[in-house]
């Protein structure tokens, strides 16, 4: 069973994504800010990280930069989830640190699950 780490500060969205990923057979761990997310990522070594950007304590971009400094963290696939501006301007500023950038409101949870399965080569 593949493990997903969801780092998201909105509780309703956490419930929604956790439900969808669990319905699709994933194990899901959650964190509500970048600081907790980074700690959990380095402890749990998930197969994929879904990372919100705008969060308290430590935002998603800072967490990702710190993650990429770690030997394991350098390689873990990350999907950035954002509702800020447009995904292109976010991806432009991030370079290639994350695998994908999604504007949350434009994607159904199932669509994100499908993208995760493609990335993790799950049929």
């Amino acid at each position: 069973m593949k493990k997903i780490l969801l780092v998201e500060d909105d509780l309703i969205l956490i419930k929604m994504y956790v439900a969808e990923f669990r319905f699709n057979g994933f194990e899901v761990k959650t964190a509500v800010d970048g600081e907790e997310g980074l700690k959990l990522a380095l402890e749990e070594h998930p197969d994929l990280i879904l990372l919100d950007i705008k969060m308290p304590k430590m935002d998603g971009l800072t967490m990702l930069k710190n993650l990429r400094n770690d030997g394991w963290g350098k390689h873990v696939p990350v999907f950035m989830l954002t509702n800020l501006n447009d995904s292109k301007s976010v991806s432009d500023s991030m370079g290639s640190l994350a695998q994908r950038y999604f504007v949350k409101s434009d994607w159904d949870p199932q669509q994100i699950v499908d993208e995760a399965k493609t990335t993790l080569r799950i049929t």
């Binding site: 969205l13 969808e20 509702n83 501006n85």
Partner: protein
């Protein structure tokens, strides 16, 4: 009798009396012939009167000349002839001065003095001399062999009248007030006494060198201007004539009184013209200095009031001029900046606080190339107290005779504008995030319920849930479009143009919309697109094509949506042709407006946001192209066009 007529008559009477008095005085000096005098003030009086008061005083000149001559020598007939000559002399001189030499303001320029001498002193006086001497010769009052000697006396006498008397009257008549600075009163007194003493010494014969008077003329002209020069001429003339008539002075040694007076007259002409020339030159220089000062003050006032910084440099990059705004922004005083090298006293940094080297400074480039630089990229200046602030500037070379002799820089502190831009960005981000987050939950959870993730639900709930999903979708699109419009209006949309094969982009969009088209039974037909490269932002191009083709599908119930391309000049145009419901004539104007929806829900079509075409057109224009409606007919379909610039192979 009208007021004006009365004034004219009065004027003529006054001038008549003055003419007669001065004429009788002038003819008192006549020796070669009773009607010809080497000293003839009336000519100058007549010319001045005609220039100041106009041709309406001509009768007084004619009558005055007639009376003077009738009461001195000759018959009525000769007096009429002489009067005619004298009058005509005045009229001719006046006409020429008015037409070619600025009228009564003839002495306002050096050119005017030259023209006055030619037209009034030399030419017009020949008229009077010729007519007058001819009249008295024909009348038997002069011998034929004396014609030219009398003519010469007549001519020079009239010339003297114009050169000595007319300038005095014309200049003093403009403003009788004398502006004397009390500090200059001593100077005036000494000068006045000096004139009398020197002229007396010369014309008493003590030091009989007449041209020693000239320095006096220069002195007076310099200190007291045209009024002083003309008044001094009169004083010198009176003293000189007095002593010459008494057989004293440098001109009294001639065989006849007439010859002495003629030589004196020529001297007085030279004296008058010299004094006048110096005075006018001095006046011209003072006027020019005043004008320059005024312009300098105006420029300074303008510089002070301009909010942007202005720096002028010489060809070595040293500062020659700064305005107040520059001093305020940089914290340096004017005195601290003038003479300093710009690159030394005003450090420039880039975004990362690296100091920009002298060779890379725009000033250095402008001085070298002679080409203007206008930068929209923000650089930073560092002020005296080490505060850096963002600037945009325009740097223009000053070129003289093909060489760069300096530069002018106009710059602006962008701190406030940056803050406003940042505030706009923050606002857009905030709105974007706060509106979209709850929409994400609504959309996501609705789709999960409809999918059955939360178990079965009553059949009755299916439609309402689907309606919630559709409405949510609409709201999300509206939010996205509004954010796009906001970013566009704030100038915050970034474009990353690159060379794109237009055929591939169209294929991509058509592929993504094929499913929707097929559901409706609409066929998308693509003409083979030419292998043409366009220069555009890929995502924005896809967005525009998506909008146009999606619209075509949305408004077509059955039939085909065709896509063709055409290259024209430097643009490639994509045509989207549908066989849909078309657009009514009255709606075409509103097509590209904001929030304009045409033929939508009223005709059972999914409602858009009314921003799609507005956004598409704005994006296309920003990329150097356009979106427009080629044609449309209700019930027959529409053709839209989308153009983009072709890659310039050169």
């Amino acid at each position: 009798m009208g007021k004006n007529t009365f004034r004219t008559i009065l004027l003529n009477v006054v001038i008549l009396l003055i003419y007669i008095a001065s004429g009788k005085a002038g003819l008192a000096f006549a020796s070669i012939n009773p009607s010809a005098s080497a000293i003839w003030p009336p000519t100058g009086i007549a010319l001045a009167a005609l220039l100041i008061f106009g041709y309406r005083v001509a009768p007084s000149i004619f009558l005055g000349a007639f009376i003077v001559n009738l009461t001195t020598a000759g018959t009525t007939a000769t007096s009429v002839g002489i009067a005619f000559g004298n009058g005509l002399e005045g009229l001719v001189g006046t006409y020429l001065i008015r037409k070619f030499a600025n009228g009564r303001y003839v002495f306002d320029s050096l050119a005017g003095i030259v023209k006055f001498t030619l037209f009034a002193a030399i030419l017009s006086t020949m008229v009077s001399a010729t007519i007058g001497v001819t009249t008295i010769t024909l009348g038997g009052f002069a011998k034929a062999q004396e014609f030219w000697s009398i003519w010469l006396t007549w001519w020079l006498g009239d010339m003297g009248g114009n050169i000595v008397i007319a300038p005095l009257l014309l200049i003093w008549s403009r403003n009788l007030r004398i502006h004397i600075d009390f500090r200059k009163i001593l100077n005036l007194f000494i000068s006045f006494v000096g004139v009398i003493i020197v002229t007396t010494i010369i014309f008493q014969g003590i030091i009989p060198y007449a041209y020693l008077c000239i320095p006096i003329a220069v002195w007076i002209a310099f200190w007291f201007g045209q009024k002083g020069a003309t008044a001094t001429t009169i004083f010198v003339a009176i003293i000189a004539i007095y002593y010459t008539l008494h057989g004293l002075g440098p001109f009294a040694k001639e065989p006849s009184t007439n010859q002495s007076l003629l030589l004196l007259q020529m001297f007085l002409n030279i004296f008058s013209l010299t004094a006048l020339t110096f005075a006018t030159t001095s006046l011209t220089i003072k006027k020019a200095e005043k004008k320059l000062l005024q312009e300098k003050l105006e420029d300074e006032a303008m510089l002070v009031s301009i909010g942007e910084g202005i720096i002028a440099t010489d060809d070595t990059g040293r500062i020659t001029l700064v305005n107040q705004a520059t001093c305020i922004m940089l914290g340096w005083s004017k005195e601290e900046l003038i003479g300093q090298s710009v690159v030394d006293v005003i450090p420039m940094q880039d975004e990362k606080e690296n100091v920009i080297a002298k060779e890379s400074r725009p000033l250095t480039k402008v001085l070298k190339s002679g080409k203007k630089i206008a930068t929209s990229l923000t650089q930073y200046y560092v002020s005296k107290n080490r505060i850096r602030f963002p600037v945009v500037f325009t740097l223009t070379p000053v070129i003289l005779d093909g060489k760069v002799v300096g530069t002018i820089e106009v710059f602006r502190d962008m701190t406030e504008e940056r803050a406003i831009d940042n505030a706009k960005d923050e606002f857009i981000s905030l709105v974007s995030h706060e509106l979209r987050t709850p929409m994400t939950a609504i959309r996501g959870l609705t789709s999960m319920i409809l999918k059955g993730d939360y178990g079965k639900f009553g059949e009755k709930l299916k439609d309402p849930l689907q309606d919630i999903a559709i409405s949510t979708e609409r709201l999300i699109h509206l939010i996205n479009d509004l954010l796009d419009v906001s970013r566009m209006q704030a100038g915050r949309i970034t474009f990353s143009p690159k060379d794109l094969l237009i055929g591939k982009i169209i294929d991509k969009v058509v592929t993504s919309l094929n499913a929707i088209a097929q559901q409706k039974g609409v066929k998308i037909q693509m003409e083979k697109t030419p292998e043409i490269l366009v220069h555009a932002d890929e995502d924005k191009t896809i967005e525009v094509l998506n909008n146009l083709i999606d619209n075509a599908i949305k408004f077509t119930d059955k039939g085909t949506v065709s896509i063709t391309c055409e290259q024209k000049g430097q643009l490639l145009t994509v045509f989207i042709i549908d066989q849909g419901i078309g657009i009514a004539q009255q709606d075409k104007k509103r097509l590209f407006g904001k929030f304009e929806q045409i033929n939508s829900q009223q005709e059972g079509r999914p409602a858009g946001t009314g921003l799609g075409l507005y956004i598409s057109k704005s994006l296309a224009i920003k990329m150097g192209g356009d979106v427009w409606l080629i044609k449309s007919e209700k019930g027959k379909g529409s053709t839209f066009a989308f153009s983009l610039p072709i890659v310039d192979e050169s």
